[in-house]
């Protein structure tokens, strides 16, 4: 069943010209408010059983025994899946079959690679029976010492960072640049392990029918999931039907199908019945990726004129003991500030954790907080206002490559956000401002940047005999608003009003929309939709302009435009014909056409493509107790064409709040002896609550970009974090004069330096 979402349109939705650019509310909002949006774990096919994972309490070693008999004896338990009792897989789950294939633990051995790893799965008639069965397994272990933290083991230079970026990049001579500098800053910043913590846990409902598999699971990449699952189970990817209409957040953790989801499918195969498997919160701290801890050293040289002479950015990161993902933290320094010399490098070590993976702005978020802090330190060392310093070192071309930017309205972002914030009244020195109640007040800023990426995506456009249209694409709505924004693009692509377009999405039987990641989904799928719409309109125009009974006869395909369900001659607007009339005369029930969206390699090699922004933050700090409170944030962002300003504003708010969270709240605490994460729950792993979130302003700066793609879209999913964490950290310094270089900023770091 393909979900179809009907539009309820309030007067705010009245169309004024193009659908693109309208601040429509979410089309799925009413469903969600009424609890009618069906998430993966809401499905209960007949005969379904519940599977619960038993997890390792050690971080490294082997399972030597499991009391399977005790679990099996428990009333309601149907089966216990273990390394010695499980369906055979067609492919080694540790085989690196493609760059997106990360190793996973699906009971292939008794080895334990990290705490919270699956070591067995109990399948039962009820969730409670499966849960108790898992508790009764009482595992025993052969324990090896856990490696925890950034100094746990020998380090090495990773082969690549991120997805295939070089681990070291040199541009110019950084050593010479530093030697020639009149001011040099060297500082080390540390960021902690962080976990995605989407509110919806990873869940799967899997049902086999012969060699066909039907699954409900939240996914940011259904076709990648089909390929991975098909490979593991030895069935064609097309035999796998995935429904993923709604995600309760993904943030990268649902980009690739993870071990627990495969275990759910294996469990269904083992028992021959549909099975539901939902991770508990603490089980999300391990097998579904995380942001690794980093230790970053920045060396910045500045000449007597305030111009940068060099940026050297070195990042040490962790990866797992058994796979390779390296947070590209230093790469953020490639594109932001003009300097004749850039050197970035990475260093890695293996620890006994799950494999780190993409987490909202992977590399950019960690790198930005260090770079923006260091730039702030450099500005102060030079006695220059932080904004003036950034403007002085404004990059007119991409510093590491010399390529021109496809568009870059960062100057406007700085100007608009600074004005809204009132930045010009900021004293240069720290600890100069107090409010009426005597709290220290500090103002800080950071520059936001995120690459404008595109993946590959497809869409199918349909025009029906009644003159309405449909657009089909297997896109992913993680909560960011794809159901709405992509429908808006669809309506414009088809020359129809939004109500006249059935927008179908969220299942794997629709055209492959690629992956919802890299802030690239709207750009990728939007352009696929745009091209599919253009193709079907061209087909329709072909029917009309070659038919001598049509008023458009002889106009040629390029001689007509589509508008509100009619084709018009470009050179004579009154000559037009409705879609329905054209199809009726041709005797067709519908016509369709496909389109794809992908980056243009020629434009990509010629231009540097990035979204930019500027974030300003005010904090208040208790001068004696050291407690910090963010009291306002202003961000201005230039991210190409904005499809839906309301949704974009929400994305940017969310990113800025995440940045504040990065600066002040989030940290996974691991016991240094056992390797177990001690705060794997939402009570103790802190993210901001409503009361932490200050009044916020988001300004979107118009930016016309003819190079990124036909629609001019850059993407807004991740940029809001970058710049924001640094802005908050810099504001804390400005309030207190204390530079905290370990994140999150803790009260103990401030309290000893404060006295009143």
């Amino acid at each position: 069943m393909t979900p179809e979402i009907n539009l309820t349109r309030d007067p705010a939705h009245l169309r004024h010209g193009s659908n693109i650019g309208q601040p429509l509310t979410r089309r799925d909002g009413v469903l969600k408010v009424k609890g009618e949006a069906r998430y993966a774990a809401d499905n209960h096919p007949p005969g379904m059983l519940y599977a619960v994972i038993a997890t390792a309490s050690i971080a490294r070693g082997r399972v030597t025994s499991l009391d399977v008999a005790a679990a099996r004896r428990h009333p309601g338990v149907v089966d216990v899946m273990t390394p010695s009792h499980k369906p055979q897989l067609a492919e080694d789950p540790d085989a690196k079959t493609n760059p997106f294939a990360f190793r996973m633990e699906v009971l292939q051995s008794d080895e334990v690679r990290y705490a919270n790893q699956a070591i067995a799965v109990v399948i039962a008639e009820t969730l409670e029976a499966a849960t108790e069965g898992a508790a009764l397994l009482s595992p025993r272990y052969d324990v090896a010492p856990a490696r925890v933290g950034l100094d746990a083991d020998e380090s090495y230079t990773p082969p690549v960072v991120g997805l295939g970026n070089p681990a070291e990049v040199h541009h110019g001579d950084a050593d010479a640049g530093l030697a020639a500098a009149s001011q040099r800053i060297e500082a080390i910043y540390e960021t902690p392990a962080q976990y995605h913590n989407a509110i919806e846990p990873h869940a799967i409902v899997a049902a086999w029918n012969g060699d066909r598999l039907s699954i409900d699971t939240p996914s940011q990449g259904m076709v990648l999931a089909q390929m991975r699952i098909g490979g593991l189970f030895g069935i064609p990817p097309g035999n796998i039907h995935i429904r993923s209409p709604f995600l309760g957040g993904g943030f990268g953790s649902k980009g690739l199908v993870a071990g627990p989801q495969i275990l759910g499918i294996m469990a269904a195969k083992l028992v021959g019945r549909p099975v539901k498997l939902v991770l508990r919160r603490e089980q999300m701290y391990g097998p579904v990726g995380h942001r690794p801890p980093t230790r970053q050293r920045l060396r910045i040289g500045v000449g007597s004129d305030g111009a940068l002479t060099a940026i050297e950015h070195h990042a040490k990161v962790t990866t797992s003991s058994f796979d390779d993902f390296y947070e590209p933290a230093a790469d953020v320094s490639h594109a932001l500030y003009a300097t004749p010399a850039i050197k970035t490098s990475h260093e890695a070590l293996r620890v006994d954790s799950g494999t780190p993976l993409f987490m909202r702005a992977p590399g950019e978020a960690t790198g930005s907080v260090a770079l923006e802090s260091a730039i702030d330190e450099a500005a102060f060392a030079c006695g220059i206002d932080p904004l003036a310093f950034r403007l002085k070192n404004y990059a007119e071309v991409e510093p590491a490559t010399g390529r021109p930017f496809s568009s870059k309205a960062l100057r406007e972002c700085y100007a608009k956000a600074a004005e809204r914030f009132g930045w010009s009244r900021r004293p240069l020195a720290p600890r100069q401002m107090r409010d009426d109640a005597g709290f220290l007040v500090g103002w800080g800023m950071g520059t936001a940047i995120f690459p404008a990426l595109m993946f590959q995506g497809n869409a199918r456009a349909v025009i029906r005999a009644d003159g309405t249209g449909a657009m089909e694409t297997g896109a992913h709505d993680m909560g960011q608003g794809a159901w709405t924004a992509l429908a808006q693009i669809s309506a414009d692509a088809l020359g129809l009003d939004l109500e006249q377009v059935a927008f179908k999405s969220g299942t794997s039987d629709l055209p492959d929309a690629g992956i919802a990641g890299g802030s690239a989904h709207t750009a990728t799928v939007g352009n696929a939709i745009h091209n599919a719409g253009a193709a079907v309109i061209a087909k329709l125009a072909g029917l009309a302009t070659s038919d001598d009974r049509s008023p458009l006869f002889g106009a040629g395909n390029a001689g007509v435009i589509a508008r509100q369900g009619r084709l018009h001659r470009r050179d004579d607007d009154v000559r037009s014909e409705s879609y329905a009339d054209i199809l009726a005369r041709a005797g067709l029930a519908e016509i369709d056409a496909s389109g794809s969206g992908a980056a243009d390699p020629a434009a990509q090699s010629q231009y540097a493509m990035h979204a930019h922004g500027a974030v300003f933050a005010e904090v208040k700090v208790d001068p004696n107790l050291g407690q910090v409170r963010v009291t306002r944030m202003v961000g201005a962002f230039a991210a190409g064409r904005i499809i839906n300003p309301r949704l974009v504003q929400s994305q940017l708010y969310g990113g800025m709040i995440w940045g504040m969270s990065f600066a002040l709240h989030e940290e996974a605490v691991t016991d240094r002896r056992s390797g177990r994460i001690l705060n794997a729950n939402l009570a103790e792993y802190h993210v901001p609550v409503n009361a932490d979130v200050p009044p916020m302003d988001v300004i979107t700066v118009d930016e016309h970009d003819p190079h990124v793609n036909a629609l001019g879209i850059k993407g807004v999913g991740e940029i809001g974090i970058t710049g924001s964490a640094g802005a908050v950290a810099n504001a804390v310094w400005h309030a207190t004069g204390i530079r905290v270089r370990r994140f999150p900023i803790r009260i103990e770091e401030l309290v000893t330096g404060l006295s009143d």
Binding site: T126, T131, Q627, H665, D671, R672, R673
Partner: protein, 350 residues
């Protein structure tokens, strides 16, 4: 599933009978107990639901001027009772600084007194914890312990008591009324919670079957109404336990402190009454130097149990702050952010 009996007794006597058997525990709203059961930290064989026992949900003024609060009164109801907040402002502020709105709506007065520590090693059943498994050892002692106790801890346990509510209560000489196998008795709240010593598993002075039926604030507790505050440092503005907290209540007579009541939270396995500081403050002038001296006295016996030396300094500072704010007077309205040093701050436009 993990099977257990669930009984809903009709009377206090019946409840005590049901709860006396080994493996039985009382269930109030379960905001703590059910989490502990889900995590396998607590595996009772019988839950005795006391939420519907008659007569335990009333707040009444007794003839001697004391206030008797039934054990099943909800935290939110008590905190939002205007008469209560006016008479015992530090208690109301502490209640509203705790947990979240949803939890306060569910949690009961009696249950709050008996909530368990939030030490991560207590919750992690794979860790050694003397409180959970006597004799197992204490993995917190040399583990991640920046938020652990600085007062009254032992080598066997460095956990803290998490309650905000109990901190001003212990300062105001609250008394708990207990029904048990041998009838009714009373205990000062200060004597209810135990320090760990060699027996950290014995968290309270309660005996099997004992049921807290009411909490009583003595008549004298009202005499601090004009100068009562609860200040709590925490790592986010709501839904976070105290790093350190302090309840200060003063009776000011002719410009001097007639009597002071002071207690700290987040520093020990029990709400920590600072009697030495109170003695220093009695009769003293309203002076920052006096508050600092009192703070030093309150923390005189403190020592770090791990990476938490900062808490000793922080606790002294929060004592000074709580005394300063209490001396300035109870706010006419409950602060928008109860317990926060930023209680009056909101975002401002430049």
């Amino acid at each position: 599933m993990m099977n257990f009996d669930y009984v809903r007794p009709a009377s206090v006597a019946e409840a005590i009978g049901a709860a006396t058997e080994p493996g039985s525990v009382y269930l109030a709203s379960g905001t703590n107990l059910l989490d502990l059961m889900k995590g396998g930290v607590s595996r009772p064989s019988r839950l005795v639901d006391v939420t519907r026992l008659p007569g335990l949900d009333r707040v009444e003024r007794l003839a001697d001027g004391s206030l008797r609060i039934g054990a099943m009164v909800r935290n939110a109801d008590l905190a939002h009772d205007p008469d209560f907040a006016k008479a015992y402002p530090a208690v109301a502020e502490a209640l509203l600084s705790g947990a979240s709105g949803q939890l306060r709506n569910a949690a009961t007065v009696g249950g709050n007194l008996l909530q368990r520590t939030r030490c991560a090693y207590f919750y992690d059943v794979a860790s050694a914890c003397n409180r959970r498994a006597p004799g197992a050892g204490c993995d917190a002692r040399h583990g991640e312990n920046r938020l652990h106790a600085v007062l009254g801890w032992s080598e066997g346990c460095i956990a803290t008591h998490p309650s905000d509510f109990c901190v001003p209560l212990v300062a105001l000489d609250a008394v708990v009324e207990i029904e048990g196998k041998r009838g009714r008795r009373e205990l000062s709240l200060e004597a209810l919670h135990r320090l760990p010593g060699d027996t950290p598993e014995r968290e309270t002075a309660l005996e099997p079957g004992d049921l807290i039926v009411a909490l009583r604030l003595p008549a004298e507790a009202r005499s601090f109404a004009a100068h009562g505050r609860y200040i709590k440092l925490r790592e986010r503005t709501s839904y976070a336990f105290a790093v350190v907290s302090a309840a200060a209540s003063l009776r000011i007579e002719q410009g001097r402190i007639g009597e002071a009541r002071l207690a700290l939270g987040g520093v020990a396995a029990k709400p920590w009454r600072a009697r030495a500081a109170e003695r220093l403050l009695a009769g003293a002038s309203l002076d920052a130097a006096v508050y600092r001296e009192a703070a030093r006295a309150a923390l005189a016996d403190a020592k770090p149990s791990g990476d938490n030396a900062f808490k000793i300094e922080l606790a002294q500072r929060i004592v000074v702050r709580a005394l300063t704010l209490a001396a300035a007077g109870t706010p006419a309205l409950m602060p928008a952010l109860p317990g926060s040093p930023f209680s009056s701050v909101s975002g401002t436009r430049a």
